[in-house]
Amino acid sequence: MDAPSRADLTRGPEPASPAGPAAVDAAEADLLARARGGNLFAFEEIVKRYQRRVYATAIRIVRRHDVADDVVQEAFLRAHQALGRFDLSRPFGPWICRIAANLAVNHVRSPRAREEALPEAHAETPAAGASPLTGVLEAEARLELARALESLSAEQRAVFALRVFDELSYKEIADALEISIGTVMSRLSRARERLRVALSPYLGAAMARRAEGGGR
């Protein structure tokens, strides 16, 4: 059982609306319009909806909470500043996640950040498995994955995170990180290959589990 104090970021934007995606979009567009008009409380609501997702994007790249905190705040600040130019018909989430990813990568690139980097910081933690038998193996696999992610460069983590977690297209990733689509493709491929090789011993079990019942 995970400690209740942890904030699970694997869920999408919160709070979830029971009325369905269309209603959420309308409510969100209203919030954004009001935030754009200067209503800070409306903007605060937007922050509440996206903070976990933005934080997840940031922490996966920068690997340290204090740095991710800075990136998250900065991302929301910039989004707020740019709200006037933002097309309200576009989804807000991917947009701010791109901002956050760009900030995160740039932050990790700064020489000072490299000095401060904690080599063993794990942004991710392994969650307990569903069944005791597979739990141990999966816990190890996740730990290994966390380590392998740690060993990637920030740029590689950024493309991987934006693709796998935020599900941005290559074009969107390219725009977010200000690189070419070709670079996205090769970086992502290399990142995935490293992870694949690192997890190879465990992947048999993982793949079998997926084949059995689609995991969780």
């Binding site: 904030a7 800070l40 600040l77 933690t125 977690f165 493709m185 694949r196 993982a206």
Partner: protein, 396 residues
């Protein structure tokens, strides 16, 4: 297609291959067990990654929205300060020299007034000419006011120091000078007392953001003929007292004036002088356009931090100013990853100030900074701070 798709498997997985290539790779995978397995594994890696939890400290998301809101609310005020600071820094190079003369003429009366108050008879013309021409016109006044005739010329001092002595002093000096007239020995240097009233904001802004940039600017500013004799400003009583008061901007000016007695280079005076000579209010429209190109707070913060890092204080005033600069950074950007380092560096600068000037107030300030740091929960650099404090004399 001959051979394995290699890197394209990843793009294939994401559906990002062009249609024709996609068909090729799909066909290959059907035939090639190895590549088929790799695609499967890549997909499994994705799935496993998605299951990874990412945790934040307890209560983090409860507090974050309000923190963001507070920063958004503060934001509009940050820009003008940054614009001020950068505007000030940007224009200082261009305007120091001509401005010195211009300012002087308009200031001469007030300087003369002050001197009249102090019972020193100096005709305005004398003060004016102190800047336009070499110093002899002023030195008689100084001597009359009891100044020491032995003014060591800046032959061995750094170029900055020479320029400091030449430049018009800061407006803060003027204000303090007026305030401390009662304490001031008659030898308050007229040259240095003839100061430009200066926007308070400019001080703070320059200090906060543009100091070292301004210093570099001063270092490269073309030197007008130095009336070296006009420079020596032995008013240690007035300004040393002011220095002990603990106000940074005052200190800078005070120490600059009194530094010769203290034996500390007056390089910092260059900075104070430049502040005095730049009426940024007039120049703001000109420079603002250039400066507004960079309003990104993250980049400004990086520059600010780097600028602080680059400084090497060589005087008490510089060290105090650096201490305040680091403190301000940590205070302005508490969530910055570098804020902790800024706090420790503030302490180091405070200690440097004490070591350079032996002023007990600096020692007390350093101790206070150290205690505050150690009193912070989870302070990451306790050992480093303790070591710094241990090297100081024991507290009474």
């Amino acid at each position: 297609m001959s051979g394995h798709p290699g890197e394209r498997l990843s793009a294939f997985l994401d559906g990002e291959l062009p249609v024709s290539e996609r068909a090729e790779v799909a066909a290959h995978i059907r035939e090639c067990a190895e590549c088929a397995r790799q695609v499967e594994e890549l997909s499994a890696v994705d799935a496993l990654a998605r299951e990874l939890r990412v945790d934040a400290p307890e209560g983090y998301f409860d507090a974050l929205p309000a923190r963001v809101r507070a920063r958004v609310r503060r934001r509009p005020r940050l820009l003008p300060v940054a614009v001020w600071a950068a505007a000030a820094a940007a224009v200082l190079v261009a305007v120091v020299a001509p401005l010195t003369l211009q300012r002087t003429r308009s200031l001469a009366p007030s300087a003369a007034e002050r001197m009249a108050e102090q019972g020193t008879a100096v005709p305005p013309a004398t003060v004016t000419s102190a800047y336009a021409t070499p110093a002899p016109a002023v030195s008689p006044a100084l001597r009359a006011a009891g100044a020491r005739p032995d003014f060591s010329l800046p032959t061995s001092a750094p170029a900055e120091e020479a320029r400091a002595r030449r430049d018009v002093p800061s407006g803060r000096l003027a204000q303090r000078d007026r305030a401390q007239n009662a304490m001031t020995a008659p030898r308050a240097a007229p040259a240095l007392a003839a100061t430009a009233p200066e926007p308070e904001r400019l001080h703070k802004a320059v200090e906060a953001h543009g100091k070292e940039v301004a210093q570099d600017a001063a270092a490269t500013a073309p030197p007008p003929p130095p009336p070296a004799a006009a420079r020596p400003a032995p008013a240690p009583d007035a300004f040393a007292a002011g220095a002990a008061a603990g106000k940074t901007e005052d200190e800078v000016g005070a120490t600059r004036v009194g530094s010769r007695d203290e034996g500390v280079p007056a390089a910092k005076g260059a900075e104070a002088a430049r502040r005095g000579t730049a009426p940024a209010r007039e120049r703001k429209p000109v420079a603002a356009g250039r400066v507004l190109a960079e309003t990104d707070p993250a980049i400004l913060a990086d520059r600010r931090y780097q600028a602080l890092l680059d400084r090497r204080p060589a005087s008490v005033a510089e060290a105090r100013a650096l201490r305040d600069g680091w403190e301000a950074f940590a205070r302005d950007r508490p969530a910055d990853a570098r804020a902790d380092e800024a706090r420790v560096r503030a302490l180091e600068a405070a200690i440097t100030a004490w070591r350079l000037g032996s002023d007990p107030a600096d020692l007390a300030r350093a101790r206070a900074l150290g205690r505050d740091y150690l009193g912070t929960e989870d302070a990451p650099q306790r050992d480093r701070v303790r070591a710094l404090l241990d090297a100081l004399p024991p507290a009474p």
